[in-house]
C-alpha cells in the first residue's frame, strides 16, 4: 500500500477485474446501499434542499476554518480536552505514540477512523512494537487477514461470509469453522470485549467537531466506538482539520445527510457527543481526552477555490456506492486509503500527481458521484481539473507534480485535432479520408485498445456535412 510498494493501477485493475467473486460481492453490496439510500430519501425535493443546506454549512465552515479551529481548541481546552496539531501523518503518529508510552499502554483499541488509515497508524505502531486492535467488525475482519479497508464505510465489503468464516477459523485460536453470521459476530464480540476491558488507550475518529461547544461527534452502529471512547482511561481522537463545523445547530442537517447517504439510515444506532474527559464525581469515561488535528495537505487544498471543495467531504462513501468504476474494481485497486470518486480527487492532491495522477483518468465522467454527493462536491469537475493539472498547459498547476504528463506526442495529436476542427477544409478532408479507408484504418494506438472488445467504428463514406450540402439543407 501507498508508500511501500510502487503503485501500479493498471496491474491492480487487471487483477480486480479477473476476480469474479470480488465483482459479485461488490455488485451485491452496492445494490443494497444504493437501494437503501433511495428508500431513506424518498422525497427528492426535500433531499435537494437538504443537500444545498449541507453544502452551505460546510462552505461556511471552510470560510471560517482558521477561526473555527482556534475556537475549537479554546473550547476543548476549557473542557479539559488536550489539543494537538500535526502537520503531517508522521507527526500525528508520534503524538499517539507519546500518549501510549506515557500510559505504558502496550495496545490501543481503535474505533473506525479513516484518518488513522491515512496515518498508517497500525503499521507505525507495529514497527514500534505496539499493537493496534481494530474493533469495528469489518475492520477487525480485514486486520486479521492483514488487509486494509476497501470501502470508507464498509471496510470488508469485498469479503463474503465464507471468506470471513475461513479468516476467523485460521486466525483466531480455537475457532471452529462457521458460516453463520450470528455466530461469527458472537466470536468477534467475545474476543473484542476482552480487549475493551483491558485497554488503557482507545482511539477514534471524529465525524464532526463543533467549535461552538468544543464537542466531538461520532456516529456508529456497533457500539465499539462508544467502547473505545468510554472504557479505557485515555481517549485519543484523530481528525482531519476540515471536520470542524461552526455550531451545534449545524449538526442535525449534516447528520441526516451523513447517515442517509452512507448507509441509508434515518440515524445510526449511536450518536456519541464527547465534550470532556471524566469530571470529578463521574464514575466512568476516560480520564484524559486528546484531540489530534491533522493537516496532511489539507491547508494546501484550501488555497485553491476549486480544489477547496474537496474539503467539504463528510466521508459518507456514497460516491463509491454509485460509481460504475468502483463497483467493478473495488477499493484496493485504487492503491490508497481513500478509494472511489472521492479518492480520485483526494489522493492525487495528497500524494502528488506523479504518484497518483493516474486515478484521475479512471472516470468516464458519468456524473453519478456528483449527483448523489450530500454536500454537492462537483467531483467530475475536480477530476477534469486534475487532468488539466496533469498537462499544466498554462503553467498554473497548484497540485504537486503538475504537468507530469506533458509530452510532445499527445500535444501534437491534440494540436492536430484542434486544427482539423477549426478548419472546415481540413475537417472535411479528414472525415472523407477516414470514410475511404474504412476498415483499412490500421488498428494501432487508441484504436487497438478500442477494438479489443469492440469492432472498429464504421466511418461513413459520405459525412453529414456532405449529405446536408448535397441534400439541400441551408448553410448559414
Amino acid at each position: 500500500m501507498g508508500n511501500h510498494t510502487r503503485f501500479d493501477f493498471e496491474h491492480n485493475v487487471t487483477g480486480a477485474l479477473a476476480d469474479d467473486q470480488l465483482r459479485k460481492n461488490l455488485r451485491k453490496a452496492m445494490d443494497i446501499l444504493v437501494d437503501k439510500r433511495r428508500t431513506v430519501f424518498p422525497d427528492s425535493e426535500y433531499l435537494e434542499q437538504l443537500r444545498s443546506a449541507g453544502n452551505a454549512i460546510k462552505r461556511r465552515a471552510l470560510k471560517q476554518l482558521p477561526r473555527l479551529l482556534e475556537q475549537l481548541e479554546v473550547n476543548c481546552t476549557k473542557n479539559g480536552i488536550q489539543v494537538h496539531w500535526a502537520e503531517d501523518t508522521a507527526e500525528a503518529n508520534r503524538i499517539v505514540l507519546d500518549i501510549m508510552r506515557r500510559h505504558e499502554a502496550p495496545a490501543i483499541v481503535k474505533g473506525k477512523s479513516m484518518v488513522s488509515e491515512e496515518m498508517h497508524l497500525n503499521r507505525f505502531l507495529d514497527e514500534q512494537g505496539l499493537e493496534a486492535v481494530e474493533t469495528d467488525l469489518g475492520e477487525f475482519i480485514i486486520q486479521l487477514n492483514h488487509e486494509t479497508p476497501s470501502h470508507i464505510i464498509v471496510p470488508a465489503i469485498h469479503k463474503n461470509k465464507d471468506e470471513v468464516a475461513a479468516i476467523f477459523h485460521d486466525k483466531i485460536p480455537d475457532t471452529p469453522y462457521t458460516e453463520d453470521v450470528e455466530e461469527l459476530t458472537a466470536i468477534a464480540r467475545r474476543v473484542l470485549r476482552k480487549r475493551f476491558a483491558a485497554a488503557k488507550v482507545g482511539l477514534s475518529g471524529v465525524n464532526f467537531a463543533i467549535a461552538e461547544t468544543g464537542t466531538l461527534l461520532l456516529v456508529e452502529n456497533e457500539g465499539n466506538g462508544r467502547m473505545c471512547t468510554t472504557v479505557p482511561e485515555v481517549h485519543v481522537a484523530v481528525m482531519g482539520l476540515e471536520k470542524v463545523i461552526e455550531k451545534l445547530s449545524d449538526v442535525p442537517p449534516l447528520l441526516r445527510l451523513l447517515t442517509g447517504s452512507a448507509t441509508g439510515q434515518v440515524i445510526t444506532t449511536y450518536v456519541n457527543m464527547i465534550s470532556s474527559p471524566r469530571k470529578s464525581g463521574e464514575k466512568d469515561g476516560p480520564k484524559e481526552v486528546h484531540l489530534v488535528i491533522l493537516d496532511n495537505g489539507r491547508s494546501r487544498m484550501l488555497a485553491d477555490p476549486e480544489f477547496r471543495q474537496t474539503l467539504l467531504c463528510i466521508r459518507c462513501g456514497t460516491c463509491l456506492n454509485h460509481c460504475p468504476v468502483y463497483v467493478r474494481i473495488g477499493g484496493h485497486a485504487y492503491g490508497h486509503v481513500y478509494p472511489g470518486p472521492i479518492g480520485k480527487i483526494l489522493t492525487p492532491q495528497m500524494e502528488g500527481l506523479e504518484r497518483a495522477g493516474v486515478l484521475a483518468t479512471a472516470s468516464s465522467l458519468c456524473g453519478a458521484c456528483g449527483e448523489v454527493c450530500p454536500v454537492r462536491i462537483p467531483i467530475p469537475d475536480l477530476i477534469r481539473r486534475l487532468r488539466n493539472e496533469s498537462y499544466d498547459q498554462d503553467g498554473s498547476a497548484v497540485v504537486e507534480g503538475g504537468g507530469y504528463k506533458k509530452n510532445l506526442a499527445e500535444t501534437l495529436v491534440w494540436k492536430g485535432w484542434e486544427l482539423a476542427n477549426r478548419s472546415p477544409l481540413l475537417n472535411g478532408i479528414g472525415t472523407r479520408l477516414a470514410g475511404k479507408l474504412g476498415k483499412r484504418i490500421p488498428r494501432v494506438g487508441p484504436l487497438k485498445k478500442w477494438t479489443r472488445v469492440r469492432t472498429s467504428p464504421k466511418v461513413a463514406r459520405c459525412s453529414l456535412h456532405e449529405r446536408a450540402r448535397n441534400e439541400g439543407v441551408n448553410n448559414e
Binding site: Q82, I95, K161, T185, T213, E222, Y270, K283, S299
Partner: protein, 220 residues
C-alpha cells in the same frame, strides 16, 4: 499545545489560503417537522421499533409492573441501576415488596475501575432518558454520576425509561429549546436501537459490541 510550531504553521497557511474572503450564500433548511403529542409518540415508537427496539407504551403508574413482567419473562439475573435517581428509588421500592423471579439489583455506585469485570457480566442496565426525538426516532441520554455512561452500553440489555412529554419534534428543536450550546455535558448520546452490524454481507446482526436488546418504556 504539544507542538506550537505545527499549530502556528497550519494556522498561517489557513489564513493565507484566501478562504476567509469567499462568499457563501445562505441555503434554507427543509421545513421542520411539527407533530402533536400523540403523533410524536407514535413516530418515535414506530421508527425505533423498525430497527428492533422493543417499545412498550405504558401508563406512568404502571411502568414498574411492566418492568417486572419483562424482567421475569427475560430471566435477567442481575439488573444494573442508579439508586440515586427517581427511577432508581422507585425500583428499589417495587423490588422491596416482591422479589420472586426478579433479578438482583446491582447499584452503579463506585468508579468503573472498581468493578469493571463485574460490569461486563451484567444482564441488564436500566437508565432514565432525558428526552426523545420523533423525527429520527431516538432517545437522548446525558449520563450523570448517578447514571454513568457504561450503563447503557455494557450490559446485554439496555432498558430506557422515557416520559412521553419529553419527546421533541426534531433534534434541531431540542438543541434550541434546551439551549445545548450554553454548555454540553461530558457525554451526550442519541440511541435509536440495540447495537448492530451489517459488516458481513449486509446480514443484520444485533448485539455486536453493545446491548443485544434495547427495551424502551414510554411512560404516558
Amino acid at each position: 499545545m504539544s507542538n506550537h510550531t505545527a499549530r502556528e504553521r497550519i494556522l498561517a497557511r489557513l489564513h493565507a489560503s484566501g478562504t476567509e474572503q469567499t462568499e457563501v450564500p445562505d441555503a434554507p433548511l427543509p421545513p421542520p417537522l411539527s407533530l402533536d403529542r400523540d403523533a410524536k409518540i407514535e413516530r418515535l415508537a414506530e421508527l425505533m421499533a423498525a430497527i428492533r427496539t422493543e417499545v412498550h407504551i405504558v401508563d406512568t403508574d404502571a411502568w414498574l409492573d411492566k418492568l417486572k413482567e419483562l424482567a421475569r419473562e427475560k430471566g435477567w439475573k442481575r439488573l444494573l441501576y442508579g439508586p440515586e435517581v427517581p427511577i432508581g428509588s422507585a425500583i428499589e421500592t417495587a423490588w422491596a415488596s416482591d422479589t420472586e423471579g426478579l433479578p438482583e439489583l446491582v447499584a452503579y455506585t463506585g468508579p468503573v475501575e472498581t468493578f469493571k469485570e463485574d460490569l461486563f457480566q451484567m444482564d441488564a442496565g436500566i437508565t432514565s432518558v432525558r428526552a426523545g426525538v420523533a423525527e429520527t426516532g431516538v432517545v437522548v441520554l446525558w449520563p450523570t454520576p448517578h447514571e454513568p455512561r457504561l450503563m447503557s452500553l455494557v450490559p446485554t440489555v439496555h432498558v430506557a425509561v422515557l416520559d412521553a412529554d419529553t419527546i421533541y419534534n426534531s433534534l434541531a428543536e431540542m438543541i434550541a429549546v434546551e439551549r445545548w450550546a450554553d454548555g454540553m455535558p461530558t457525554n451526550a448520546l442519541l440511541i435509536s436501537g440495540p447495537s448492530k452490524t451489517a459488516d458481513i454481507e449486509f446480514t443484520l446482526v444485533f448485539g455486536v459490541h453493545g446491548p443485544k436488546e434495547l427495551v424502551l418504556l414510554i411512560r404516558k
